[in-house]
Symmetry: C2
Subunit: 485 residues, 2 copies
């Protein structure tokens, strides 16, 4: 998978990469060589190279040879395991591997098939959250006595919770006016305050509303913050809310003993999800969802059309995964996760996590040693949130300065980073964790920041004081020109 | 991908196929050979072989070398094209190929990017329908003035519409009491009656309810019925309902000129979906959704969190597919669909459809020639719905007789079929269309039905009159024994 372009990442101009491709469907079959030539010439240069070791944006999407093999087998078998009989081994293996991963995370047996719960693989966190929200909603509506109570249901998260939670809540019909996003702050590392959550819930109860669902996060997207599960769990239990833990990113890290404490309190949750397709060497797509009361999920999502009826389902002794997810059809995703775990072993999976964290510590040290930069929030996993210090307490200047730094790095095509805003502060996110990233890539990133754009930006800041002078695009051009020298 | 078992399909007893597998995660990496041995010994024998040419159940899940190549590239690149900049070529190619397929189906330009609409690939019909239902819901709620009107919204389909429509409607918060399933009948080939639909809508309007959404199907799952799009479209327009066409199965067939007429009236719809992963040689998963007003979809599903903001999105000149679907993350599915179309060409894609239909006609002729059997509904595509004629007008006897026939065929492990019930009639479904099915497989299936189980069943019927005597399981054992002789 080489690129014909020298650059790893693309300039941002929205030009069409498909202009050179045939614009209509061929009547006759085309030779494979022609198709692959177009893939190489037109498509690869237009991809953002998520598998590049210089990809530090968003959260990484891990791939591995084992994961690739799993996907090949999945695509080759091409079975559709919507219910047990439609591919028994696909269902059985999924149940097995979900228990495996649950045990690696030391989830209580109440989340495992070997205990009283169970797990399922989804394509994404949002799909998983839609399903548990629907389960919680339907249970509440039954208790309240009907669908006319929909507009009373309230959901809680923090202002750092991934936006897909709000999307999921809106999808299942919770009115957006009933979303409570508890404000976080710099002083608490952007974690969700149990006290503020409790007060907000009490207010809603007083107003005659019905608190339904609380989403806590282990490793938020903007800054990698961790919500306090034990305390939030107690609040959730007191008010009978469904507590979901979104550990999409940092869940994988909790297989390491020294990081497992972030999941303390998980026994208070009703459901938890994590994405092996992020940091667990498992190619897209794979999100694991565990739930304590699978019957609540299936009560909400199950269906029994005549054309799918069969002896095994009727026996109630088997799992029909169609009733654990949105869609009917489903790919045999469990296979790749199972192969990834066996091929790497727990030892190498932990090594993968730990070496990424070690590299993040190294990058953090670079930031801390250079007084022109600062860490914005304490690093917990392998996401480093930093910025160029603004000269004065001028947050706007800090925002522009850092925005331009990210833009210049990305425009160089040599690395790709992303940003966030937390507590009004513009944060540069350095997410370390692609499968191929090694120490020298991290060192090169720091050098790129420092010796080219950093120096230029700092020079500009000195020249301009707290404000830029001249046309912003001109300044950006300068940045890019400096990068291309 | 051979099977170590002689049989293509499994006996139905819910035994665990994973008993022989390691029951906990290994600490050390395991050799690939050990893993593949387990795949071969424990997993493959426990799969239901959807790619077997003797698979005639549900609707087929097509695979092809081109589709497999596309999946390999997708898994190798492992890009996550949630917005344009996160992989421009992935978005551009998806828009291109959705227009390609739309043009093959002769969709009006109002559904295409080259016109005023646009398309997106989803994993399944249910996900696509959830999204368009949410778009319709949110538009209606805005018009009505708020979320408290949710319980007034009513959705319409037929009693033959795939159950995922009801699941999707419930997911987006439409109360199940507001689902109207228009009754179909044998006399109209189980298609949805525009007159009954209109009367039902009028009743709802009179009751102060708000008709929202009508789902029509081209090729229903139970019997392959086609709903009358032109007439239903007129009703939908008159009452301002969102009309969605679910062409999951039979949409692919409409690339053939002689079958395109089933889509007549599509210009009256708001959205239409079809699944290339069924009958279009595209490995799982791939569902195409086209929509006339993409802004309604993105109004409902879009989000603009700071950490995903970028110049390209801000320009509004690019497509951010995260706002066209449930999840944030997404696989580069378009690649395989594009490769499938180029590698086969329209000519071979049409040949694939037509040869399946020719085989279905052949099977239909077998049924029609044998007076002990009957076609239950006219065949339109490559799904043959037939049954052993019950001796008298005893539908119960017909149900039991045919149920046991299906069970006996499936228990033989030599072919796999499924059933449906339409208008109270138990129907055996012979869905012809796996990539590898050839005429001799269809002939063998008929022979299997006729010479082994058919003869036995007929003999039993003669012996028992209209009722079975003795223990049902015993009779089934006889069937199976006969099969294994």
């Amino acid at each position: 998978m080489g690129s014909t372009s020298k650059k790893t990442f693309l300039p941002l101009d929205p030009v069409s990469f498909t202009d050179k491709l045939p614009d209509s469907t061929p009547y006759c079959p085309e030779p494979l060589e022609d198709i692959l030539k177009d893939v190489n010439d037109c498509i690869i240069p237009g991809l953002t190279h998520w598998q590049s070791p210089n990809f530090f944006a968003y959260f990484q999407a891990n791939a591995s040879t084992a994961g690739f093999l799993g996907e090949m087998l999945c695509s080759g078998f091409n079975v559709v395991g919507f219910n047990w009989i439609s591919s028994p081994a696909a269902t059985e293996l999924e149940s097995l591997v979900l228990d495996w991963v649950g045990k690696l995370l030391k989830l209580p047996s109440s989340f495992l098939f070997s205990g009283t719960g169970g797990g399922v693989s989804h394509g994404s966190t949002c799909e998983a959250v839609v399903c548990v929200l629907a389960a919680a909603r339907d249970k509440a509506l039954e208790r309240l006595g009907g669908w006319e109570h929909m507009t009373k249901l309230v959901v809680y998260a923090s202002d750092q919770t991934h936006f897909t939670f709000q999307k999921a809540a809106k999808l299942v019909g919770i009115p957006p006016s009933n979303f409570r996003l508890i404000e976080t702050s710099f002083s608490t590392g952007f974690s969700m305050s149990p006290e503020m959550t409790r007060l907000t819930i009490e207010d809603d109860v007083k107003s005659g509303l019905v608190p339904l669902f609380l989403c806590a996060t282990i490793g938020t997207t903007p800054t990698g913050a961790v919500d306090p599960i034990v305390e939030l769990g107690k609040v959730a239990m007191e008010f009978k809310l469904w507590l979901h833990i979104d550990a999409a990113y940092a869940g994988s890290a909790c297989i390491c003993a020294e990081l497992r404490h972030y999941l303390d309190g998980v026994e208070l949750a009703n459901s938890i999800s994590m994405n092996p397709h992020k940091w667990f060497l498992t190619n897209m797509d794979c999100c694991c969802l565990w739930i304590k009361e699978p019957n609540l999920l299936t009560d909400s999502l199950s269906s029994d059309p005549e054309y799918l009826r069969n002896k095994a389902s009727k026996s109630k002794e088997v799992v029909d995964y169609k009733d654990w997810q949105i869609a009917l059809s489903r790919r045999f995703r469990a296979l790749k996760l199972w192969i990834v775990i066996r091929r790497h072993g727990l030892a190498n999976l932990m090594y993968h996590i730990r070496s990424d964290i070690a590299m993040a510590k190294r990058f953090e040290a670079f930031v801390r040693k250079d007084e022109r930069f600062e860490m914005v929030v304490p690093r917990k996993f392998a996401l480093v949130c930093f910025r160029l210090k603004p000269k004065a307490e001028e947050e706007d200047e800090g925002r522009e300065l850092n925005r331009k730094l990210v833009e210049a790095i990305n425009s160089s095509g040599r690395a790709f980073m992303s940003h966030a805003v937390a507590g009004g502060i513009y944060v540069i996110r350095c997410a370390i964790g692609t499968t191929l990233t090694q120490q020298h890539h991290v060192d090169a990133l720091w050098k790129l920041i420092l010796t080219r754009f950093g120096r230029k930006a700092l020079a500009l800041r000195k020249r301009c004081g707290t404000e830029f002078v001249g046309d912003e695009d001109e300044i950006l051009d300068d940045f890019i020109a400096a990068a291309e020298m």
